[in-house]
């Protein structure tokens, strides 16, 4: 029997990106996308419900923003590994995300191979 799978919560409001990302992450052994949400409130509820190992978090969401999720108090002391994965990774945003406790901040369009690498390391 293999070791426990790494459970991912994907927070992303774009359907095409979501599908493509699921395909890419599905390639990685020992990892499963446990839930997908497209808003900040839903994401917070899912975190409490499924206690994911990793959150892949977009910043611009259908409701609220990724920063709202990072600011969430409920899981502040037991934070899952959180990768901000966004198309808005300017210097200021990277700093703001890191300040709020993001484990990594990656650009959606140019650094998805790094996302794969980071997740592989966690398995």
């Amino acid at each position: 029997m293999g070791k426990a799978r790494l459970r991912i919560l994907l927070v992303e409001d774009s359907a095409p990106v979501c599908n493509a990302l699921c395909e890419l992450l599905g390639e990685i052994e020992g990892l499963e996308v446990s839930a997908i949400t497209d808003g900040a409130m839903q994401a917070r509820a899912a975190i409490t419900r499924i206690r994911p190992d990793v959150i892949v978090l977009d910043l611009v969401l259908a409701e609220g923003s990724g920063l709202d999720v990072l600011r969430s108090e409920e899981w502040k002391d037991n934070r899952p590994f959180t990768v901000v994965f966004s198309g808005d990774c300017t210097g200021g945003i990277r700093t703001a995300c890191k300040r709020l406790g993001a484990s990594a901040v990656l650009d959606k369009a140019s650094e998805f191979h790094l996302l794969q690498a980071v997740l592989r390391d966690l398995i």
């Binding site: 774009s14 493509a20 395909e23 611009v60 808005d88 210097g91 945003i93 369009a109 998805f112």
Partner: protein, 392 residues
């Protein structure tokens, strides 16, 4: 020998003129004659009779109009006038005559004795009558001027009121246009970023997924070339979207957006920016946007006009106000550049601040740079909000 007094007889009826002339000649007076008010006024330009005996009912210009015109010409305004009439003998006519400084009225039919007595009486009382008439005339004139003045002041007040209302409407309109423009920019930026940007990102991910599975090197090469093209397109889309509305403003707030904009500006212009940005977290989106736009405009002005090498940017909370200071070490803006008719950029910045209840001050010192300070109170109701509340 006593000087003979001269009487100007004004009557459109020639037989009446002749009758009066004969009676007055007999009474020892010199006489002049006029058949109309116009003619009498012409005579008065060159001659100064001691008394004008005027009929009231005459065609074109009646006796009252003649006296009104006479009183309006300063050089002859004090001329003594007596009316002779068969028509006007009611109280109102007498009051009207007195109103224009004619206190002697001779009723027809005219007997020679009564004519001469009336003329003598009028001439004897000339000084008193003249002064009375002049006083009355001056009084009336003053009242008339006061009435006109009051009328004009009222008109001016009404115009000022209309101007102020129009100005307020223009401010509202400018605010509304600004808001609509910002909403439109935000909408287009979101569509570019969310729709086009996301699709391109997904496309690139799909290419990456396909490359892993492609056996042919040619196919892999073609896919890599497509990914490069997608990267370039994503870059253009992001640039357009950020120019329209920087996402950082909505995601990370004003302080982060100002830091980011300063970095961008420094990279583009090679002007060093020292930034200290804190506060503004609880500023609503409208105010944050306006402050950010004014900041962008300030940077644009520095790049275009200041010739600066260094900028200090300081955003901080001062009691309940949010204050942003931008100092540059350039040549220093002149008064004309700050307040002149062509200072449209600064006017636009002031308008933006006024819309959110804030203020903007700009000071330049030759050779020592320019400072721009904007202050936004947290609690004041903005023009835009009050406009929205009233359904504007």
């Amino acid at each position: 020998m006593k000087k003979r007094s001269t009487v100007l007889i004004l009557d459109d009826d020639s037989s009446m003129r002749e009758y009066l002339r004969i009676v007055l000649d007999e009474g020892g007076y010199n006489t002049l004659e006029a058949a109309s008010g116009d003619e009498a006024l012409r005579i008065l330009e060159t001659k100064r009779p001691d008394l004008v005996m005027s009929d009231i009912l005459m065609p074109r210009m009646d006796g009252y109009e003649f006296v009104r015109q006479l009183r309006s010409r300063s050089e002859i305004a004090g001329t003594l006038v007596m009316f002779h009439t068969a028509t006007y003998n009611d109280t109102q006519s007498l009051a009207l005559a007195r109103g224009c400084g004619v206190s002697h009225i001779l009723q027809k039919p005219l007997r020679p004795t009564s004519i001469l007595e009336a003329v003598a009486k009028a001439l004897d009382a000339e000084k008193e009558t003249h002064e009375g008439a002049a006083e009355s005339f001056e009084g009336d004139h003053r009242n008339l001027l006061m009435d006109k003045l009051y009328e004009k002041v009222s008109e001016l007040e009404a115009s000022n009121r209309a101007l102020r209302e129009s100005e307020a409407r223009l401010h509202e309109l400018a605010g509304r246009l600004q808001a609509v423009r910002e909403e439109e920019r935000t909408r287009v930026a979101r569509q570019l970023h969310d729709e086009l940007g996301s699709s391109l990102t997904a496309l690139k991910m799909n290419c990456a997924w396909t490359i892993e599975r492609a056996k042919s090197e040619d196919v892999q090469k073609r896919l890599r070339s497509s990914m490069d093209l997608i990267d370039e397109t994503i870059l253009v889309v992001r640039q357009l979207s950020t120019e329209l509305r920087p996402g950082i403003l909505d995601i990370a707030g004003l302080a982060a957006a100002i830091e980011w904009q300063a970095e961008e500006f420094q990279a583009r212009s090679a002007i060093q920016c020292d930034v200290s940005a804190e506060g503004g977290e609880d500023l609503d989106s409208t105010r944050a946007t306006e402050v950010f736009r004014v900041f962008q405009e300030a940077l644009t002005n520095i790049a275009r006009h200041a010739g600066a090498t260094r900028i200090a940017i300081d955003l901080k909370q001062q009691n309940t106000d949010l204050v942003l200071n931008v100092y540059d070490n350039g040549k220093g803006a002149t008064d004309d550049e700050i307040n002149g008719r062509h200072a449209l950029g600064i006017l636009g910045m002031r308008e933006r601040m006024a819309l959110i209840g804030g203020s903007l001050s700009v000071h330049g010192k030759p050779g020592e740079g320019t400072s721009v300070m904007l202050r936004v109170p947290h609690t004041i109701q903005t023009q835009r909000e009050s406009g929205a509340a009233s359904g504007v």
